[in-house]
C-alpha cells in the first residue's frame, strides 16, 4: 500500500485577533497535515485555537478583527493564499466543507432544509430544479434522514437536534467535498445522538473517502474515531501522533492532564487506584503563545524554571509521534 497522499496542509499558520488592549495570538505556528481518507482529530480546551485553525483553512476568519499573520494553507498542493476571493468561493463548500458545533444556530431559521442544501448544489454543480432536488434527496438519504421527501420542505425548528446536525452534514457533503472540517460536531447533542453522528462520519469516510478534520475537546471521541491526533494548547500544537500512541502513551503533560480529567470505567475496577478524576489546575492564559517558554508551564506539575524560560522544540518520541516538552523523557512509561 502506498503512503496516503497529503490533502490539506497547514504550515506555520499564525492568526491574530486585534482587541482594544492590543492583539491576541489565537493560533501560533500551527502545522498539520490531513491525508486522503484520514480522520485527524484536533483536541484542546476552549480557546486553544482549534476552530480558528479550521476557519483559517477556509479563509473565513472575520477580518477585522482576525488576521492571518503567517503561514500557508494548501489543498492538494495549491496554496490557497494565491487564490482570489472568487476562486476561494469555489473551494468552499465544493472542495472543503465545514460543519459547525450548534446545528440550531448554524442553520438559517427561515429557509427550508431543501433550500439550504440546494443552494450549495446549484451553486457548485448547477442543473435543473429537478436535478438539484434529486441530489438533495440523495444526500438526505446518505445521512440517513427518514422521510426525506417530507423533511426537505421543513424548517430547522421543526426538526430534532440530531436531525439538524444530519442536515448540516448533508449540506456539507452535498457537493462531494474532499475535505470535511467538523468543528465539535457532537458537542451540542446528547450522548446517544453523539454516537450516531460519529458513526455516520466514520461511515461516510469509509464509503466516500472524505478526509475529516475532527475538532473536539473530548478525548473519548478521539479515541474511538480518529486515526491521528493533534493536541493544541493556547494556540500552539503541543503533541501529535497516531491515536493509539497518543492516548496510550502520551508524552506531553497537557495530553496526560486531558486524559486524567476524563472518566474511565475501567479505572474504578483496578484495586489500589484512586477513583477520583484529576483536573488540570488553572485555565488557559491569554496569549499563552507569546510566552517565552512553554505555554503550559504555569499549570504543569512537571514544569521547572527552564520550562518557563525556554520554549521546548518538537522532539520525535515515537513512530509519527512528536511532543513539545522538555520533560518528555520523564513521561515515558508512566501511565497517564
Amino acid at each position: 500500500m502506498s503512503a496516503p497522499k497529503p490533502l490539506l496542509q497547514i504550515d506555520g499558520l499564525s492568526v491574530e485577533f486585534s482587541a482594544r488592549a492590543g492583539s491576541v495570538s489565537a493560533v501560533d505556528d500551527i502545522s498539520l497535515t490531513l491525508h486522503e481518507g484520514e480522520i485527524l482529530a484536533v483536541v484542546g480546551e476552549s480557546g486553544s485555537g482549534k476552530s480558528v485553525t479550521a476557519l483559517s483553512a477556509l479563509r473565513l476568519i472575520p477580518d477585522p478583527p482576525g488576521r492571518i499573520v503567517a503561514g500557508s494553507v494548501s489543498l492538494d498542493g495549491i496554496d490557497l493564499a494565491t487564490l482570489d476571493e472568487a476562486q476561494m468561493r469555489r473551494i468552499r463548500g465544493k472542495e472543503m466543507a465545514m460543519i459547525f458545533q450548534d446545528p440550531m444556530s448554524s442553520l438559517n431559521p427561515i429557509l427550508t432544509v431543501g433550500q439550504q442544501i440546494g443552494e450549495a448544489i446549484s451553486l457548485h454543480q448547477g442543473g435543473t430544479k429537478q436535478d438539484v432536488r434529486d441530489r438533495i434527496l440523495e444526500v438526505l438519504e446518505l445521512v440517513r434522514i427518514p422521510q426525506a421527501e417530507l423533511r426537505i420542505d421543513q424548517y430547522p425548528h421543526e426538526l430534532s437536534g440530531g436531525m439538524r446536525q444530519r442536515i448540516m452534514i448533508a449540506m456539507a457533503l452535498s457537493c462531494n467535498p474532499r475535505v470535511l472540517l467538523a468543528d465539535e460536531p457532537t458537542t451540542a447533542l446528547d450522548v446517544t445522538i453523539q454516537a450516531q453522528i460519529l458513526a455516520l462520519l466514520r461511515d461516510l469516510r469509509a464509503r466516500l473517502g472524505t478526509a475529516i478534520l475532527l475538532i473536539t475537546h473530548d478525548l473519548g471521541v478521539v479515541a474511538e474515531n480518529a486515526d491521528r491526533v493533534v493536541v493544541m494548547y493556547g494556540g500552539r500544537k503541543v503533541e501529535e501522533g497516531p491515536v493509539e500512541l497518543l492516548i496510550g502513551a502520551p508524552r506531553h503533560p497537557y495530553t496526560r492532564g486531558l486524559l486524567g480529567s476524563m472518566p474511565n470505567l475501567d479505572q474504578a475496577l483496578v484495586p489500589g487506584r484512586q477513583g477520583r478524576l484529576t483536573e488540570i489546575q488553572g485555565s488557559v492564559p491569554i496569549n499563552a503563545a507569546r510566552l517565552p517558554g512553554c505555554g503550559f508551564a504555569a499549570r504543569c506539575p512537571f514544569a521547572d524554571d527552564h520550562c518557563v524560560a525556554v520554549r521546548p522544540p518538537f522532539v520525535r518520541v515515537g513512530d509519527g509521534h512528536i511532543s513539545a516538552c522538555w520533560k518528555h523523557d520523564e513521561l515515558e512509561g508512566i501511565q497517564p
Binding site: I91, D102, S105, P109, I110, E119, L123, M171
Partner: protein, 313 residues
C-alpha cells in the same frame, strides 16, 4: 389566520372609537368658533347665533357627538361648514395626490435606505458606515420644509429639471404627473430613509453575527447572496416594522410637503380646514389617517407570518 384577521379587525373598532372621541373632544374644547369665522368680521351677535343654530353648534356635546358618530357608521362624515359639500366627497377629490405622494415617498425611502443600511452593516465602522449614519442623523434633524425648499432651489430654480410647485393628475398623462411628484416624494422619502436605514443597519449587524451567516459563507456563496439571501431575510421583521412606523410619520410629512409644493391633497385639505375651523373636515381627515395607520399596522403584523416560518398566528 382568517380568525386572527377577524379578531384584529374587530379590535380596531375600539381604537377608532377612542380616536373619534379624542378628536371630537379636542375640537370641542379648542378655542375659536366656526360660526364666527363663517359670518365674517362685520357680523352681529344675532347673525353668529343664527349660524350656530343652523350648524347645530348650540346643541350639547353628547348630542353633537352621537349625531356625528351615527353619521360615520352610515359612511357619512358630515358636511363641510365652509363649502357645504359632504366631507367624504372633499376627501375623495383630494385622495389621489396624497396616495401617490405617500407611496412614492415610501418607495424612495426604501430604495435609499435598504442598500444604505445593508452596506453600512456589512462594512461596519468603515467610512461608508460613518457616512451613511451621518446622513441618517441629518435626516432626523432636517425638517421636511427646509429640505423641500433646498430641493426646489437646486432642481427646479437652478437646474430647471422639475416644476417648482403644483400637481397634475395621472389622468393628465404619466409624464407630467411624474415630473410634479418626483421632488416632493424624493424629499419626503429621503428623510424617512434615515430612520429605515438606521434600523436596517442595526438589524443586519445583529444577524451578521449569527452562526448561520458563517455557514452560508462556508458553502461558498457570494457576499451579495449571503447579505441578501440570508442576512436581509432574517433582518426583515424589524425593517418591515419600521417601514410601517415611517408610513405613519409620512402622513404628517405629507401635510407639510403638500403645503410646500402646493399639492391639492388631503394634507392641504386639513390645513385649510384647520385655518377655517371647519370641524367636520378636520375630524374626517384625522379619522381617515387613524384608520390608515391601524390598517398598516395590521398588514405589518400579518407580514411577520410570511417573513418568519416560526411565527404562527
Amino acid at each position: 389566520m382568517i380568525d386572527y384577521v377577524a379578531r384584529r379587525t374587530l379590535a380596531t373598532i375600539p381604537v377608532l372609537l377612542l380616536v373619534a372621541i379624542i378628536v371630537f373632544s379636542l375640537l370641542y374644547l379648542a378655542p375659536g368658533d366656526p360660526a364666527a369665522v363663517l359670518a365674517g368680521d362685520q357680523a352681529t351677535a344675532e347673525e353668529i347665533a343664527r349660524i350656530r343654530a343652523t350648524l347645530g353648534l348650540d346643541q350639547s356635546f353628547l348630542t353633537r357627538f352621537f349625531q356625528w358618530g351615527g353619521g360615520i357608521l352610515r359612511g357619512d362624515l358630515g358636511v363641510s361648514v365652509f363649502s357645504g359639500k359632504p366631507v367624504t366627497t372633499l376627501i375623495a377629490q383630494r385622495l389621489e395626490p396624497t396616495i401617490a405622494l405617500t407611496f412614492m415617498s415610501l418607495f424612495f425611502a426604501v430604495l435609499i435606505a435598504l442598500p444604505l443600511g445593508v452596506l453600512a452593516a456589512w462594512k461596519a465602522d468603515s467610512w461608508l458606515d460613518k457616512g451613511a449614519m451621518g446622513f441618517a442623523v441629518l435626516g432626523f434633524s432636517v425638517p421636511v420644509f427646509v429640505l423641500a425648499y433646498c430641493l426646489i432651489f437646486i432642481f427646479s430654480v437652478q437646474l430647471k429639471l422639475f416644476p417648482i410647485q403644483g400637481y397634475k393628475p395621472i389622468a393628465a398623462g404619466f409624464g407630467p404627473f411624474l415630473s410634479h411628484m418626483i421632488l416632493p416624494s424624493f424629499g419626503l422619502g429621503l428623510l424617512n430613509a434615515a430612520l429605515i436605514a438606521r434600523t436596517t443597519r442595526a438589524a443586519m449587524l445583529e444577524v451578521l453575527r449569527q452562526d448561520y451567516i458563517r455557514t452560508a459563507q462556508a458553502k461558498g456563496l457570494s457576499t451579495a447572496r449571503v447579505l441578501i439571501g440570508h442576512a436581509l431575510k432574517n433582518a426583515a421583521i424589524p425593517i418591515v416594522t419600521i417601514i410601517g412606523i415611517s408610513f405613519a410619520m409620512l402622513i404628517s410629512g405629507v401635510v407639510v410637503t403638500e403645503t410646500v409644493f402646493n399639492i391639492p391633497g388631503v394634507g392641504r385639505l386639513v390645513v385649510d380646514a384647520i385655518l377655517r375651523r371647519d370641524y367636520p373636515v378636520i375630524q374626517g381627515v384625522i379619522l381617515l389617517f387613524s384608520l390608515t395607520y391601524v390598517v398598516v399596522n395590521l398588514l405589518v403584523d400579518l407580514s411577520y407570518v410570511l417573513l418568519d416560518p416560526r411565527i404562527k398566528l
